[in-house]
């Protein structure tokens, strides 16, 4: 039983890798307090999802979906097309987030999320 699961996992090693990458990103997100690191973690997670999505499109022996004469087997073009959009979105988010980080540093003088919360909390009381 568990042997079978391991075999299947091995067969799906690309998926597994992206899942591991996702968890690594999430872990960084949860445990690191530096805002830039949090953003990097976010990007790792996004990349993991992109990898996963593109991997879905792969077919054994398939080539890039450019319809040249003589090529008959292609990979699935849909995930690649979608992920192009996904990447742009992720970039946009990161750009805006970095702009906010700049502003935060200007206002609070630190990039540590706990310190920012502490500064803000003091002001509230």
């Amino acid at each position: 039983m568990s042997m079978e699961i391991l075999e299947r996992l091995y067969g799906n090693i690309y998926y597994l890798t992206s899942v591991i990458l996702f968890v690594i990103g999430f872990h960084t997100m949860l445990t690191h307090r530096n805002l830039i690191k949090k953003l990097m973690a976010l990007n790792i997670m996004d990349t993991a999802i992109f990898l996963f999505f593109v991997a879905i499109g792969y077919r054994q022996g398939g080539q890039a979906p450019i319809l040249l004469p003589g090529v008959t087997s292609f990979v699935n073009p849909v995930p690649s097309a979608l992920i192009l959009t996904g990447i742009v979105i992720s970039v946009s988010f990161t750009a805006f987030a970095l702009a906010l980080v700049v502003l935060l540093y200007k206002h609070y003088g630190t990039l540590d999320s706990d310190e920012i919360i502490a500064i803000r909390g003091k002001k509230h009381v």
Binding site: Y14, V19, V23, L30, P65, L68, S92, A99, L100
Partner: protein, 93 residues
Amino acid sequence: MKKVLPVLVLAAIGMLLVLTVAEMPTFGDGQAPAHRGVMDKYLRDSAQDTGAINTIAAIILDYRAYDTLGEATVLFVAVLAVSAALYQGEHHA
């Protein structure tokens, strides 16, 4: 507690994901459900429909151009958001 909680959450998520991966269709399987949907039509018709031999380009720029409009809009939102957030009033501009 603050150290344990993330580990527990991650373990739960990781467990679920690994089991899911084990259940997924095999990587690279040409007959996986993902390839039985819209793919064939794109590969078959895109050249006549759009004149593009690159199917991905055909999808992005023609079949799913609305998404691409959305994609461009996201970029626009980001540019606008950054400039509006960093804007400090007339005299700086």
